[in-house]
């Protein structure tokens, strides 16, 4: 019989183990989310991330080794983004009717996101590269990293802040919007996608298809809006 060392050598060099672990961690996170009666603070992504981080630490596995397996899941983000066209197409009339409210939200929302984040960080003494990296945090990661690089931030730091923003938005949106008694799912979805990109959009789809559709539009539109607004707003700091 092969000893454990040989089996581990195989497992740690092939993508199978960490691909399976990624799916398993998400299944656990999703099961807890369902069991809680879909409570927003039981976030499946956050639970899966914590479980996997613990597993990587305990097994002494590097992120590179982990990502060798997880990249198959990560890769699907691109095709899934393309597929957002389908709910958009199915709700096209409703989206078309909402162009003007969306445009208004698209101007004031990103200004608020960028302005408050920079303002708070600046007030607490954050300067330089870290401050600049924070500016595009509400935008989907590839665009945010590009913006960050072009204004002198760190794309890696920005990626961290983007994910934290996404998880924050996904957790706070439902209780926050319920407390404000907002019943228009177009507005709810658009605001969440605009503020917390794909992670917020994924959350919106869990709540309501209309919300998910508008979140997808918000995410795409904010990629453009923030790319234009960040350099403008930075001239104030």
């Amino acid at each position: 019989m092969a000893d454990f060392q040989d089996i581990w050598t195989y497992l740690s060099s092939e993508p199978l183990l960490w691909l399976t672990a990624t799916l398993a961690a998400y299944v656990i996170g999703d099961a807890l989310f369902q069991a809680s009666g879909k409570r927003a603070y039981i976030n499946p992504v956050l639970i899966a991330v914590i479980l996997l981080a613990i597993a990587l630490t305990l097994s002494g596995t590097t992120y590179e080794t982990y990502f060798n397996g997880a990249k198959f899941v990560h890769f699907m983000l691109g095709p899934a983004t393309v597929c957002l066209a389908v709910p958009l197409y199915l709700n096209l009339r409703q989206v078309g009717k909402s162009i003007i409210p969306m445009l208004v939200a698209l101007i004031v929302g990103p200004i608020t996101a960028i302005g408050t984040a920079l303002g708070i960080a600046y007030a607490f003494g954050i300067r330089g590269e870290v401050l600049l990296s924070l500016a595009p945090k509400s935008v989907t990661a590839p665009v945010a990293m590009g913006i960050s690089e072009s204004i002198g931030g760190s794309p890696t730091l920005t990626a961290v802040m983007v994910i934290l923003t996404g998880i924050t938005g996904a957790i706070v949106c439902t209780p926050l919007l319920n407390a404000l008694k907002i019943t228009d799912y177009r507005a709810r979805g658009f605001a969440v996608g605009l503020t917390s990109h794909g992670i917020g959009t994924a959350r919106a789809f869990q709540v309501n298809e209309t919300a998910g559709t508008f979140a997808g539009v918000g995410m795409g539109a904010n990629a453009l809006a923030t790319a234009i607004l960040v350099p403008l707003l930075l001239t104030l700091f």
Binding site: G78, A113, I120, A121, A141, D184, R186, V192, I199
Partner: protein, 117 residues
């Protein structure tokens, strides 16, 4: 199924190539989404055929963010002593941006005489 995936990946590929060629501030897949939408509008019959593949991919959109999320854990220490302030800034600005955007949307819709949906 395979032909649908080929179309989806092909549109993403087209989006990636064009955004890079023209230096657009958009990710390739977002432009791919725009192309896909145009395709669906031009060929409504195709929408019925590809709907289940696309909705299957979107049903577990959250899962796809897990690998990137795990990457964040390793980088949190690069924020060093700033981590508390950064988290505070992120939480407050996320809440503020959601509140401002949602009211901007609903108030504009109300001024235009639109009801919900």
């Amino acid at each position: 199924m395979i032909s649908h995936l080929t179309v989806i990946l092909g549109l993403q590929l087209l989006g990636e190539v064009i955004t890079r060629a023209l230096g657009l501030p958009l990710p390739g897949p977002v432009l791919g989404m725009v192309f896909f939408l145009v395709l669906l509008v031009l060929r409504p019959a195709f929408a019925d055929a590809i709907k289940s593949t696309a909705q299957g991919l979107l049903a577990h959109l959250s899962l796809l963010f897990v690998p990137a999320g795990v990457g964040v854990v390793g980088h949190i220490k690069t924020l060093g002593s700033d981590v508390g302030v950064i988290l505070l800034a992120i939480i407050i600005s996320t809440i503020a941006a959601i509140v401002v955007s949602v009211y901007a949307f609903t108030l504009t819709a109300k001024l235009m005489g639109q009801s919900n949906g």
